[in-house]
Symmetry: C2
Subunit: 267 residues, 2 copies
């Protein structure tokens, strides 16, 4: 943890500084809930997209200008809405809004829908957290497997706060961000929290082919999630069994185990 | 390599089937060069974005329809231009254009500019390769550290073909895609090819703040690449020293080494 700033560094008021973003846009219910939760743990600043950014992965905006405006969505809190992606929000938040002062924690979400398994790669929620990890800032992406516009967050409040509190107190190894997923609220209470690996599952794509009013073909990308990973240590297993899952994620994609075998190649 | 289809499976003509995409758009010089190279190794199908998609990371298009039109950019070759991202192109290429027949190889690029270190996360070129890896298809993203509109590719032709030929003959472990970067052509010939890890470097963001003609503030995202990783086994070291770099990349982001320590957390 040598390169990461020590956990628990706080602002002049003694409270940790927490930067909040998401990918569903600044008016989504999930970020409102997250702001409520985090306001009890520290000083909150919000920089979030001004429109939904689901599926944006780790996109950044380099070919068009970015806009950033003060937002009145959260009364009494410093909040900004940004025309860019979740990763842009973290960059603008740290370098412009916070004037290069690193927050003590970046939290992203709560995403409307889960981001387990390979969805971590497509997820704007997690790309914001990973962007923070690249900057050496402890970060957490939260997602709830509930796609309704008015999800019930009541069963996850204590867990969201406990996970954030642990990260504020303990820090995270440099370059690691947490991918936290919760099951939809069911008849039984949550069974607990499991530390998991990313399930080796995938989306089976389905393209819904249609014709527009001018007779031209277009496609909607749709898909079916297929999980052939039978491990009981995966994020998919956890949320399917009424646990919250936490996958510690890194941004070093190197497949170290493969490097040695490739030295044999004739190149 | 159990889940991956065997390498070298070929089409009715006996030639391997190669799907080509990129992130600079179907008219970029880099994909033209790659089509030339791959046409000597197999049967080529092109599905590429109809406009530049640099910095799109692993974005996919889920909130708007996708368009796909036959393209005449490559005479005599089956080619399609797509309104979506590089990852969309791989999905549409496999599931729609190739009617769920898996190609023997997916190649992406040649990107105009390098995609070393953390740039792998922002890179549309590499997201296409990683999307193929998720599908269990051997894949390579090629990038050349030359930002001119008419780059000199002459020094990389033999290497691009040799790397692709190796992958066609040997396959790749399931879930692995290669991130290949070449230095710009210099006065000396390339020294060779190094198998590398992803350098632990990052972009230091700079936001260029301006006013539009209406007096409203906007920002250009710019940055300076900072490499404090002194290892000689990194992709950055390789291309800075006139070697080509190959980083085998995986899409499992789990930080396995961190899981055990987190079991101690009070959650």
């Amino acid at each position: 943890m040598s390169e990461q700033k020590p956990p628990g560094r706080s602002d002049a008021s003694g409270a940790p500084l927490i930067l909040i973003t998401n990918d569903d846009g600044i008016t989504a219910r999930g970020i409102g809930f997250l702001v409520e939760c985090m306001s009890e743990l520290g000083t909150v600043v919000v920089v979030a997209p001004n429109s939904p950014q689901s599926g944006m992965g780790h996109a950044i905006t380099i070919s068009s200008p970015l806009r950033l405006y003060p937002s009145t969505v959260f009364s009494g809190l410093p909040a900004y809405e940004c025309s860019g992606t979740p990763a842009d929000c973290v960059k603008l938040g740290k370098h412009y809004v916070l004037k290069d002062r690193a927050p003590d924690l970046v939290v992203s979400g709560v995403n409307h829908g889960s981001n387990t398994s390979v969805s971590v790669l497509y997820s704007g929620t997690m790309s914001a957290a990973i962007e923070a990890a690249i900057e050496g800032i402890p970060a957490i992406g939260f997602s709830l497997n509930d796609f309704s516009r008015e999800p019930d967050f009541s069963h996850i409040r204590d867990h969201v706060q406990a996970i954030a509190r642990n990260v504020l107190e303990r820090g995270l190894p440099t370059g690691v961000a947490l991918n936290v997923n919760f099951p939809v609220r069911g008849p039984e209470p949550l069974k607990g929290v499991k530390i998991c690996r990313q399930a080796n599952a995938k989306w089976h794509e389905i393209f819904d082919e249609r014709r527009d009013p001018h007779g031209r073909r277009y496609f909607w990308l749709d898909g079916e999630f297929v999980n052939n990973d039978t491990g009981t240590d995966t994020d998919e297993y956890a949320i399917a069994n009424n646990y919250a899952s936490i996958v510690p994620c890194q941004f070093d994609l190197t497949a170290y185990g493969v490097m040695k075998a490739m030295e044999e190649w004739k190149l």
